[in-house]
């Protein structure tokens, strides 16, 4: 039970070994410290993992968690988190997912569902207000994700009548066959990174289905609704969330990245692709895009819908466009749309999959591994995707990811991964702060968990992309801020509206130029805020999240406390990873990005990682080993 609104007051742990279920102890003090979502999941892993667990063992946990604002109809705030021990990295991983599963989990009366153990036979799990039911999934095993969800709808109509409404989460063949970067799919949304789909597969869980009619209480309905109205208006008026994302989606970044030299090309050996226009957001809008759509209660509606084989399906995001486009030297947009759909249907993360294929193409070119894959020759990629998902032929090896393959065949310098996870589509030698983020990110080569500094380094704001100045402090600030936003249940895209619109829409104005100039000189100030967030004991209209917690949840909040919660989340996740062997040594990038100049004439065109790392650890209050000590954890209230 809880005194706070927004929460359902219950986390449920189920054990597949014996089919038992019990309430997981979680107090209001925990809610104040960790809010929910990924932070709650990280704390649960901190309390349960010793560092000896194998991702495919029954001891691994799958934690599906929501935030207190999930389902309160705050704009763009219906997200949920899936966390586990990653088969790709051997460390914690999490995926923040849109769609409606989080909403229906709460309607079933749960803030989080924790799954441990292994089922002997394939099952799907129905979650409702009465608890959980295990159903055999023999008929579903082997089906693709779209087929699975259609079959489940039919089955549910037979079991519970035709009027039920459900949130669904399932895996495809890739998860069943333990592809290390298998995703879970909910509707058309993916919990993509880190291979949680394979953890589902290892536990013989094909799908989760949730339903219920419990009320999600709002603390002060009138104030909350008024706040939602103002917030929605602000999102609609902002140049990014009100115009660019609804009209062009994330794909619109391809052209800007190209101009900045940030578009990963030919396995990150370059930052520009001469045919980029053919696989850009503009081309997607002009040639392929039918319409846009969005998640529950989202005014941004960034999703593209395209047509593949006469069927309307979700279109590719920037990451898929960039990594299956420029990074493979492929300029065929129709193929990217097709592969994007195939990846969702097979249930695989497009980033790690594309990164692994790019590595294999270069390994083949360099004579390290004779696999037949070549840059620019992409007619057979559909078959390769299927072979990976079913672990056939070279697909069986590609299913292991680029780190394991480079350990086997050589070519580590161009295995573009960090901690075993392949990097996103942003080439960091032209956004060195993003490079730091990739390296120190708890999850591995992830742009978001790494603080997403590229949004300040040319994609949004335009601070000096090559200077290491202030990047460590900004990295920590952005990581903690974004962590806090997403663990409440908000979409990170809402955070773009935190930047005053004129800084984005008028980048050449004297004020914007001044702001862009001054930020790298303000590392000390950002560092002070990082270390002493309590200084920011106020709320600001530009930052709607603290008001949301106040009005919808009834939790006293200010910006400083909000940042501290993000910091706590980041540290507890790091502390779990430390048990699995993470240290400063693990925070690295492939030599291609740190030692090889992107432009031989420009000595700054590489990532000066070690210099930024030292400052980053100091700012975080970590030791030179890159880890939070006991005193740091104690100061953050992590016990």
């Amino acid at each position: 039970m809880t005194e706070y609104s927004g929460y359902m007051g219950k986390m449920l742990m189920i054990d597949l070994d014996d089919g038992s279920e019990k309430e997981y102890p979680w107090t209001d003090r925990d809610r104040e410290l960790y809010i929910g979502g990924k932070a709650a999941a990280s704390k649960i892993m901190y309390d349960n993992f010793t560092g000896k667990e194998d991702p495919f063992s029954g001891d691994n946990l799958i934690i599906v968690s929501t935030g207190p604002v999930t389902g309160t109809f705050a704009p763009s705030s219906n997200r949920f988190d899936i966390s586990s021990l990653s088969p790709l990295t051997g460390l914690t991983t999490s995926s923040n997912c849109g769609g409606d599963f989080g909403f229906y989990l709460k309607k079933a009366g749960l803030d989080a569902l924790i799954i441990r153990g292994k089922s002997e036979k394939p099952i799907w799990i129905e979650i409702n207000e009465g608890g959980v039911k295990f159903h055999p999934a023999d008929e579903l095993w082997g089906l693709k994700t779209g087929e699975t969800q259609t079959a489940l709808k039919k089955k549910l109509a037979e079991l519970n009548g035709p009027k039920g409404r459900y949130g669904m989460l399932c895996i495809g063949p890739a998860g069943e066959n333990l592809v290390r970067y298998a995703a879970v799919i909910s509707g058309e949304r993916a919990g993509g990174r880190g291979g949680i789909g394979a953890v589902f597969g290892s536990k013989n869980v094909k799908a989760l289905v949730s339903t219920g009619s419990r009320e999600i209480k709002i603390f002060n309905k009138e104030k909350a609704m008024e706040h939602h109205k103002k917030w929605t208006a602000a999102l609609k008026a902002h140049p990014i969330t009100g115009s660019q994302l609804p009209r062009l989606g994330t794909a619109s970044l391809v052209s800007s990245m190209e101009m900045n030299g940030q578009l990963a090309t030919r396995n990150f050996s370059a930052g520009r692709f001469e045919s980029f226009e053919k696989v850009s957001g503009e081309a997607l809008a002009e040639e392929e895009n039918i319409t846009n759509s969005g998640c529950l209660s989202c005014p941004i509606r960034c999703t593209r819908t395209v047509e593949v084989d006469g069927k309307k399906v979700k279109g590719p995001e920037l990451e898929t466009l960039g990594l299956f486009g420029a990074n493979l030297l492929n300029d065929n947009l129709k193929l990217v749309c097709r592969w994007n759909n195939e990846l969702d249907e097979l249930g695989m993360d497009s980033i790690s999959c594309a990164g692994t294929i790019a590595w294999a193409m270069e390994a083949n070119e360099k004579g390290l591994w004779d696999n037949g894959l070549k840059f620019g020759q992409v007619d057979g990629i559909s078959q390769v995707l299927e072979d990976i998902a079913f672990r056939r032929g070279i697909g069986d090896e590609l299913a292991e990811g680029s780190k394991r393959l480079s350990d086997k065949y050589g070519g580590k310098d161009f295995a573009i991964q960090s901690k075993g996870m392949e990097l996103s589509a942003y080439e960091p030698r032209r956004a060195v702060g993003q490079g730091l983020g990739y390296a120190v990110s708890n999850r591995g080569g992830c742009h978001l968990n790494g603080g997403y500094l590229v949004v300040l380094e040319g994609l949004g704001l335009n601070i000096d992309r090559q200077t290491p100045k202030a990047k460590a402090q900004l990295c920590m600030f952005m990581q903690d801020f974004m962590e806090s936003i997403s663990l409440c249940g908000h979409c990170l895209f809402t955070s773009y509206a935190v930047f005053p619109g004129f800084l984005i829409s008028k980048p050449n104005s004297p004020i914007s130029r001044f702001v862009n100039f001054i930020i790298p000189h303000c590392g000390w100030a950002v560092g002070m805020l990082d270390r002493f967030p309590a200084m920011a004991c106020m709320n600001m209209p530009l930052i709607p999240y603290t008001y949301e917690l106040k009005y919808a949840v009834g939790m006293k909040m200010n910006i400083g406390k909000f940042l501290r919660i993000g910091e706590r989340s980041y540290n507890v996740e790091r502390a779990v990873n430390a048990r699995f062997g993470v240290s400063a040594e693990s925070d690295k990038l492939p030599k291609r990005l740190t030692d090889v100049l992107q432009d031989p004439k420009d000595p700054s065109s590489k990532v000066p990682l070690e210099r930024m790392k030292r400052i980053y650890y100091r700012t975080r209050g970590w030791g030179a080993d890159g880890l939070p000590g006991q005193s740091k954890l104690k100061r953050l209230g992590i016990r």
Partner: protein
């Protein structure tokens, strides 16, 4: 100087112009010429010079300023600011 001007993002979608050739010696000189071309093609075009000046400009794929001088055959790209991914 005859240069090729390429438009991106919502500027391209809203103006319907993908690329156009214009005569100018600096980036700054391009703005009114481009706007005139947009209005010539679509008299109802709602874009104005402020929208063009707000764009990030690249000449031959290198970031440029309004005062950047142009050479014959240069490719000038105009990108409205974007974020998010």
């Amino acid at each position: 100087m005859r240069v090729k001007v390429k438009l991106f993002g919502l500027l391209r979608i809203d103006s319907g112009i993908k690329e156009v050739e214009l005569e100018a010696s600096t980036v700054r000189e391009l703005y009114p010429l481009l706007l005139a071309e947009m209005r010539r093609r679509d008299p109802e075009c709602s874009l104005d010079e402020k929208d063009l000046r707000a764009c990030v400009v690249a000449v031959n794929e290198r970031r440029a300023k309004p005062g950047t001088k142009l050479s014959p055959g240069d490719v000038v790209c105009l990108l409205p600011p974007v974020a998010g991914g």
